[in-house]
Structure formats: structure tokens, C-alpha cells
């Protein structure tokens, strides 16, 4: 029983990380109808930035995290203005190809600058080891991860549901042209949303070094997971993405523990089953 709860907890920690990285992808897919296969690149460079900051400039881990968020957010805003903006009206195939091309370039660049080896991160002592909670031995870092993501999710929920920007965002997701007609600056909402999503992915990448690992293939290796989360949860829905990420995280960790011979089979089958039952995902609207 204890081990079962431990596995569920690990799955939740894993899922919360997936949520953090995927939520931007989900919202941009729902909002701008763009298939961005290069989203994992933002997470990957968030991770590399964190490693570089810590190793070269001696920035402590906890201080490096907000820097990663800010830097990748800025990178997201710039690439939205320069590149992605031109793709909104293009065919899905063009979007897929362009972003696959970007990912290839990013993977090659990461290999060139950081080498093909796996990067390691030195966690602060307080986040290492195990913590005993209600008789359960839980990893301190995973506990920190879950707590942080819960906090961020609450903040994100507040932003989307309670603020002016959130209302504009929701209106733009529902119907961009009518929103623009009502005077909502849809382009600026697009750009800010893209920046926020990229920043969160960068933060997720930095947080994930210890859990997901980090090497130049990261952008392709986990892309499938991010897309799975979005497809299962439903593009454009924050709560759907959270649900999809948790379901996938728990199923993946539990599957690997109880049925190792099935491997990643479980989550692919899960995704196809969910998409068959409800083509727009668990909580999504039809794209």
C-alpha cells in the first residue's frame, strides 16, 4: 500500500512537471491554432540555461529558476514576433515542418555548444533526500516540485479567471475575430500568451533536469509526452491540460513499475482510446 501511494506520488510529481511544460503548448494550440512541435526546445534551453548559470556564474538553483522563466519568456516573445506570427494563417503541414526544422536546428546547436552528454544539476541540500509525511517516505525534491506547481497553477488560474488579461485571453480563444472587433488587442494577447507559455516551459525544463534528464535529444524525446498531454487534456484548456498531465504522469510511472514489459505502450494506447472516445480531449473544445 505504501509503495502504491509512493508510486502515485511520483506519478503526480512527474505529471506536474509535464503540466508546467505543456500548458503553454496547450494554450497556444487552442488560441492560435498552431501546431508548435518546437515547444520542447524552450524547455530544453531552459534546462541548459539553468545548468550554465549554476556552473559558470555560481547562481544558486532557486535563484536560477526565475531567471530561466524570464529569459525563455523573452525568447518566446521574440520568436513569436519574428517567426510564429507568420505561421498562424498557414496550413498545418507548413507549421509542422517549420517547427520540426526549428527543432532539428536547436538539437544540433545544443549538441554543438553543450556536447551530447547528459547534464547534471546540483540541488541545494534542503531539497535532497527523503522527507517523511504521514508515515510515507517521499522525495524532498518531488515534494517541492508538486508544491511549486500547485502554487503556479493557482496563480495561473487567478490570471485566467480573475484578471482583465485572462478575460481577454478567454475571449480570444473562443473567437479571435469577434474579440478583435470588440477592441481586444488580440495580437498582443497572442504574444504575451506565447511568452508566458515559453517561460513556463523554460522553468519546467530547469526544474526537470533532475527528473527528466537533460541532453540534446530532450526536445524530441519528450515532445511526444507534451503533445500527448495536450491531446489527452484538450488544447486550449488549462484545467484539461492539468488533468491530462496528471493522468499521463500517474499511468506512465505506474505502468513502468507494475508492467515494465509493456513499456510506453500504455500511454500511447491510453491516448488513442481517449481520442477515440472524445476527439477534442478530456476537457477541450473542438479545434
Amino acid at each position: 500500500m505504501a509503495s502504491f501511494l509512493g508510486i502515485v506520488f511520483d506519478g503526480v510529481a512527474y505529471g506536474s512537471l509535464l503540466f508546467l511544460i505543456s500548458v503553454g503548448l496547450s494554450v497556444t494550440m487552442g488560441l492560435m491554432k498552431i501546431v508548435n512541435l518546437a515547444h520542447g526546445v524552450f524547455a530544453m534551453f531552459g534546462g541548459y540555461l539553468c545548468v550554465t548559470l549554476m556552473a559558470r556564474w555560481g547562481v544558486p538553483f532557486l535563484a536560477a529558476l526565475p531567471l530561466c522563466f524570464a529569459a525563455l519568456g523573452l525568447a518566446g516573445a521574440v520568436s513569436e514576433r519574428l517567426l510564429y506570427r507568420h505561421l498562424y494563417s498557414r496550413s498545418q503541414l507548413d507549421q509542422v515542418l517549420f517547427t520540426i526544422g526549428l527543432t532539428f536546428m536547436a538539437v544540433a546547436a545544443a549538441t554543438y555548444y553543450f556536447g551530447p552528454t547528459e547534464q547534471l544539476v546540483e540541488l541545494p541540500p534542503a531539497l535532497r533526500g527523503q522527507v517523511s509525511v504521514l508515515g510515507l517516505e517521499l522525495g524532498a525534491y518531488r515534494l517541492f516540485l508538486v508544491a511549486l506547481v500547485v502554487l503556479l497553477t493557482v496563480a495561473l488560474g487567478y490570471l485566467v479567471e480573475r484578471t482583465r488579461f485572462g478575460a481577454q485571453l478567454r475571449a480570444a480563444v473562443d473567437n479571435p475575430s469577434v474579440s478583435a472587433g470588440l477592441g481586444i488587442p488580440v495580437e498582443r494577447v497572442f504574444c504575451l500568451t506565447f511568452a508566458l507559455g515559453s517561460g513556463l516551459a523554460g522553468l519546467g525544463g530547469a526544474l526537470g533536469i533532475d527528473v527528466l534528464g537533460l541532453d540534446p535529444t530532450f526536445a524530441f524525446k519528450y515532445l511526444v509526452y507534451f503533445l500527448l498531454v495536450v491531446a489527452v487534456g484538450g488544447a486550449g484548456s488549462v484545467s484539461g491540460t492539468a488533468l491530462g498531465a496528471l493522468v499521463l504522469g500517474v499511468f506512465d510511472v505506474a505502468g513502468k513499475y507494475y508492467l515494465p514489459e509493456a513499456g510506453a505502450f500504455i500511454i500511447y494506447a491510453l491516448m488513442i482510446a481517449v481520442l477515440m472516445a472524445s476527439p477534442a480531449g478530456l476537457r477541450g473544445r473542438r479545434l
Binding site: 494550440m29 515542418l97 544540433a108 513499456g263 488513442i272 477534442a280
Partner: protein
């Protein structure tokens, strides 16, 4: 371009692989890799270029064909042509079964389902390593003489001619198909999937048919690859294979069968030259090339050339003052 010119140009194009056989006898192994890859890309063009189904998991059918032919040969049936047909038939039946999952959805859902199917088969072959050899691949594929006459030799002569003939036959079939009313209705579905039912076209049935046929051809391409290389790797089911086929097709130009052939040749030759220098550089330049094409030249090489030629001839006609 009028009809007789077109046929002459096509004939000239098909003389190229024949000429290559005599001019580059040392590169026949690379040549048959190009030919088998081209066959796979043609199969992808049928669903993507003509019917508008973007698939990120087409390698599933390639791999099924490859493993079918490979396993047949390992377990004692090394006859190439029947192996090819059986592999195509199996890939077609899997394609038929999964086509309902694919054509049911649309947009992102469809993309994800094809991706999921691709990964599912990759993972299945990875786990069933007692049958497929898993990561190490399936070795010990030994083929009988082709038609009982020609041995598969080390210099790759038989493999090259065999691949070329199969590609040519499949190409003739595809060329006939896309010009038929069926092929035209596919293009209409690609242009507007919602309006087609209104004129009485059974959209779902058409898409299922072409998806099944495309799966069969991809299976034949896979079988051809495993027969000519006498090896099947897990890589034949990988996402990279699906993605690179997509890239080859887009390089040449989607929705035109020669685009598939030209794109494959360009990709394979560039890869041959650049990946010898450094695989990471190759990946970077490939990425840049794909991004630029998607950004600036959505029709690929052939599409852009055709547009340019059209613009030139328009200007020419206007200049001479004659009626268009």
C-alpha cells in the same frame, strides 16, 4: 507544357535511373536506398499530397512491411516477390484497421493519432525482441534468387534493378490512380472536406481506401528495403523515418508524384555528402532547409519551379501580345 512534351520529359526522367546504373556502378547500394526511400515517399504523397492527411506515423506501415518480409526470409521463405506481396497485404490490412481511427478525427487529433499509432508499433517491436531482435535488429535475412534467376550480389546490381522495377510499376499505378476520378475526388476532399459530402462524395470511404492503399505501398517499400539490405532495424518503425519521409516529400513538393522522387533524391544525396562530414551539422542544415522551405516555398522545389515557369510564360505571352 503540352501533352507530348510532358510525356517526353517523363521518359527522360526515367532514363536517369537507367543511366545511373551504368555511370555509377560503385554507388548502386546507395542507389537502391534512394529508390526504396522514393517508393515510401510516393506512398506518403498519396495520403498527404493528394488526400491531405498529414501523417507523423507512416513508418508504422513501412516497418510492418520490412519485418514481414524479413521474418519470412529468416523462417525459410526467401522468395522475394511473394514476400513483397505478403508484406504489402499485411500492411494494407493494418492500414485498413487503423484508417478508421485516423480519418475519424481532424486537425490536431488526426495528427496525434497517426503519431500514436507510429509509436505504438515501434514500442511493440521494441518489446517483442524475441521475434524482432529488438534494438539489435533482425539479422540473418537471406533471400533466394530473384525470380529464380538472379542472385542478390554484393555490388547491389540485382537489388538496384529490382528496386527500380518495383518503383516504376508502383509509380505507374499511382500515376494512373491520381488522374482517375477517384484521385480527383481525393484532391477535392483535400481542398474542402466539408463541402464534398454535399455533392454526394463518400468522404470517409474514399479516405479509408487511399489510406489502405498507401499503407500497402509503404509496406512494399519496407519489404523492398529489408530484402535488398538483408537486415531489418528497429529504426524502420521510428518517428525519424516518418519525419524524414515527410521532409523528403516537402523538399520536392507535395501533391505531385515527381515531387516525391525529386525530393527523395535531393535529401538522400545531401545526406550522403553532409553526414559524412559531421552528423550534427547535417541535422542543423537540414533543419534550416526545411524551415526555409516551409516558410518561403511551400510547394517545394517542383512547386516553386512550376510557379516560376508559369509566371515567366505569362509575362512572355503578355509581352508578345497574343491571347493567353
Amino acid at each position: 507544357m503540352n501533352g507530348s512534351w510532358r510525356v517526353r520529359l517523363e521518359a527522360a526522367f526515367w532514363l536517369l535511373p537507367c543511366a545511373a546504373y551504368f555511370v555509377f556502378p560503385d554507388y548502386l547500394v546507395l542507389g537502391s536506398q534512394v529508390l526504396t526511400a522514393a517508393l515510401f515517399v510516393v506512398s506518403l504523397d498519396l495520403i498527404l499530397g493528394y488526400a491531405g492527411i498529414v501523417s507523423l506515423g507512416h513508418a508504422a506501415f513501412f516497418g510492418i512491411g520490412a519485418y514481414t518480409a524479413g521474418l519470412l526470409a529468416v523462417y525459410g521463405w526467401g522468395e522475394p516477390v511473394t514476400g513483397l506481396i505478403l508484406a504489402g497485404a499485411l500492411a494494407a490490412s493494418v492500414g485498413y484497421a487503423t484508417s478508421f481511427l485516423v480519418v475519424g478525427g481532424e486537425g490536431l487529433t488526426r495528427l496525434m493519432v497517426t503519431l500514436g499509432i507510429g509509436f505504438l508499433f515501434h514500442e511493440a517491436a521494441n518489446q517483442a525482441s524475441s521475434i524482432t531482435g529488438g534494438m539489435d535488429g533482425l539479422s540473418g535475412v537471406s533471400m533466394w534468387k530473384l525470380l529464380g534467376l538472379w542472385r542478390f550480389d554484393l555490388s547491389g546490381k540485382t537489388a538496384y534493378v529490382y528496386s527500380a522495377v518495383v518503383l516504376f510499376l508502383v509509380f505507374l499505378l499511382a500515376r494512373r490512380l491520381v488522374a482517375s476520378p477517384f484521385g480527383l475526388s481525393l484532391q477535392a476532399i483535400r481542398e474542402n472536406e466539408r463541402r464534398m459530402p454535399a455533392i454526394g462524395a463518400p468522404v470517409q470511404r474514399r479516405l479509408v481506401s487511399i489510406y489502405t492503399l498507401s499503407a500497402a505501398l509503404a509496406g512494399i517499400a519496407g519489404a523492398l528495403t529489408s530484402q535488398t539490405t538483408e537486415f531489418v532495424g528497429l529504426e524502420s518503425l521510428s518517428f525519424e523515418r516518418s519525419a524524414s519521409a515527410l521532409i523528403m516529400l516537402v523538399l520536392g513538393g507535395t501533391g505531385r508524384l515527381y515531387g516525391a522522387l525529386v525530393g527523395t533524391c535531393m535529401f538522400m544525396l545531401l545526406q550522403h555528402v553532409f553526414s559524412d562530414i559531421n552528423p550534427a551539422y547535417w541535422q542543423f542544415w537540414l533543419g534550416l532547409l526545411v524551415a526555409l522551405i516551409a516558410f518561403f516555398a511551400p510547394g517545394g522545389v517542383l512547386g516553386s519551379t512550376t510557379r516560376w515557369l508559369d509566371a515567366m510564360s505569362f509575362r512572355f505571352r503578355r509581352g508578345s501580345g497574343g491571347p493567353a
